[in-house]
């Protein structure tokens, strides 16, 4: 049995029905442990004080905001190359989740920036590229909603996603070139200890896992919704004909 079996809507509905409760359970578990640990049982940072607690939301949300777009790129490509409907619908289902994560990263960043940098917003490269990412999500969602025929919409948004990815990377580079920023460097790099100390490290990892699981749970559920809607549309079309 090939992996493409799961691209069959029926198979997908079966598998996801089985998978979804597990994903939800694990999400609640991880997010619960991670956030409670982080919020209540970690010390303040010597430099940043209590604001360091924001890291447990900010960093996972920021990472996922990017990863969701990558996932949409992959599923879009699968749709363009192999034309599996579920793949296109999964991309459609993921976009609002990605947008929400982007907004969370932006908002928590803004609340963090106020005490740390003395401003809600600065045209820092990383912040700017997130704003651009937010625009990409908005445009992508708007295009899905603008096109009536679902296959046409899938094709157009697929092309937009591929082209958009290239330009998103370009803007990231451009923005770096344009302004040296205030923002923290990557802290989860090879040598973790250099950036974030041990006490913050483990709860952060758990929170990241929690956000990944949250995404999986939501995307499964939303893809199921999209499949149902699509099937209802198909049946209604058939009804009209009869």
């Amino acid at each position: 049995m090939s992996i493409w079996e799961y691209a069959n809507p029926k198979k997908f509905m079966q598998t996801s029905a089985w998978l979804l409760p597990w994903a939800v359970g694990l999400t609640v578990l991880c997010l619960g442990i991670g956030l409670i640990w982080g919020f209540f049982f970690t010390p303040d940072d010597y430099k940043q004080g209590a604001t360091v607690k924001i890291i447990y939301i900010h960093v996972p949300a920021a990472m996922m905001a990017i990863n969701v777009w990558v996932m949409m790129l992959v599923t879009s490509l699968i749709w363009i190359v192999r034309r599996h409907h579920v793949s296109a619908l999964a991309a459609k289902a993921a976009a609002p989740i990605g947008l929400t994560f982007t907004l969370i990263a932006l908002v928590t960043g803004a609340f963090w920036g106020q005490p740390m940098w003395g401003t809600w917003w600065a045209w820092d490269p990383r912040l700017t590229s997130f704003l651009v990412l937010c625009l990409f999500y908005l445009g992508y969602i708007a295009l899905w909603q603008a096109v009536e025929n679902p296959d046409t919409a899938a094709d157009l948004t697929g092309v937009l996603c591929v082209v958009g990815s290239v330009f998103a990377m370009l803007s990231r580079y451009a923005v770096n070139f344009w302004n040296q920023g205030l923002h923290q460097g990557a802290s989860l790099s090879m040598d973790a200890k250099e950036n974030v100390s041990d006490v913050f490290w483990l709860p952060l990892l758990i929170c990241i896992a929690g956000f990944v699981l949250l995404f999986i749970a939501l995307v499964l559920m939303r893809t199921r919704t999209e499949i149902r809607t699509r099937r209802a549309q198909a049946l209604m079309a058939r009804e009209r004909l009869a």
């Binding site: 919020f39 004080g49 604001t51 609002p96 609340f111 963090w112 005490p115 949250l214 939303r222 919704t225």
Partner: protein
């Protein structure tokens, strides 16, 4: 129980609050859409079942 957040209470609580609001909105939207899709599909399938078995 509540950790002392000091002068950063607003920033931290607002961040957590905003996150909860945004996630709750997304989850609510997802459930609402799910309910709507289910209702629609059930209706349509009931009708389809009647007309052509």
């Amino acid at each position: 129980m509540m950790p002392d957040l000091g002068k950063y209470a607003f920033a931290v609580l607002a961040s957590y609050g905003a996150t909860v609001v945004l996630l709750a909105a997304l989850v609510a939207l997802s459930f609402w859409q799910r309910a709507r899709a289910k209702r629609l599909l059930d209706e349509v399938e009931a009708r389809a079942g009647k007309t052509d078995g």
